[in-house]
Amino acid sequence: MPVTDVHHDLDTRTLTITADFAAPVHRVWEVYADPRRLEQVWGPPTHPATFVDHELAPGGRMTYFMTSPEGERYYAYWTVTSVDEPRRFTFDDGFALDETFAPDTSMPVSHNTYDFTPTEAGTRATFVATYESAEGLEKVLAMGVVEGSSLAINQIDDLLAA
């Protein structure tokens, strides 16, 4: 498993995950810079993501939807807040109301920082996500229950295959 460290901070409602990838920084960056690659990793296999707008630039907007096995679509967006290619970018991740991608202001927004540092073996990635409130975190998890459970199954598969 590439994940090397996980840190939960209950006070600041922050999750920090560190992972080592066996590929150079520019290839890890490409996963985020190329919408077709990002689609392959963002949604779980049961809920594939489709990116509509994709602008990895300061102030840029990313919009996407995830499709459930029943064909239901869940809309969401990113507002890119800073980009330092290929080392780091930050963005706010929120839910959208519908296919217009108008932000759903009743839903929480998370602040995210993705960092990529070259290592001897490839790339060390640090992913940090912060929620402003406990309710925010609760809501996101409530929405992600389906996704979470299918991922749990994948993880078991990965463990068995390892």
Binding site: M1, P2, V3, V6, H8, L10, D11, R13, L15, I17, A19, F21, A22, A23, H26, R27, V28, E30, V31, R37, Q40, V41, W42, P44, A125, F127, A129, S133, A134, E135, L137, E138, K139, V140, L141, A142, G144, V145, E147, G148, L151, A152, N154, Q155, D158
Partner: protein, 121 residues
């Protein structure tokens, strides 16, 4: 997600946002403590510790009972687990993404990728 669940989550996070309370909770999770014993550990007045204990009790993380003149506090293991569970669920989501990135990087042909990267430059 009912609003009472959200109120509870709020109370948990508020209760845990204080170092003294986290320390009290760790002690009472390990075993029942009297409030006066907790006060000694923290070099604090009985009244101050009692206030912290009350916050934890209201959040449902700790329960109190009386034995004679003593107030005894113990931690609610289930409630504490629920807070951690929220962040753990989120972690599962991320772990899935990371393993997909890892697979994508491993299955892509690096030579094709380099040509694409060069073209883009």
């Amino acid at each position: 997600m009912s609003s009472s669940d959200e109120d509870r989550a709020d109370a948990w996070f508020r209760a845990l946002a204080d170092r003294t309370r986290r320390d009290i909770l760790r002690r009472v999770l390990a075993g029942e403590h009297s409030v006066s014993a907790l006060a000694q550990h923290h070099d604090m007045s009985f009244a101050a510790v009692q206030k912290h204990v009350a916050v934890l009790e209201r959040a449902g993380l700790l329960s109190k009972r009386r034995e004679g003149r003593k107030a005894l506090a113990s931690g609610d293991v289930e409630a504490v687990r629920s807070v951690g569970r929220m962040l753990t669920e989120l972690e599962a989501l991320w772990r899935g993404r990371i393993s997909r990135i890892d697979e994508l990087l491993a299955t892509e042909d690096p030579t094709t990728d380099q040509t694409t990267a060069q073209k883009e430059r």
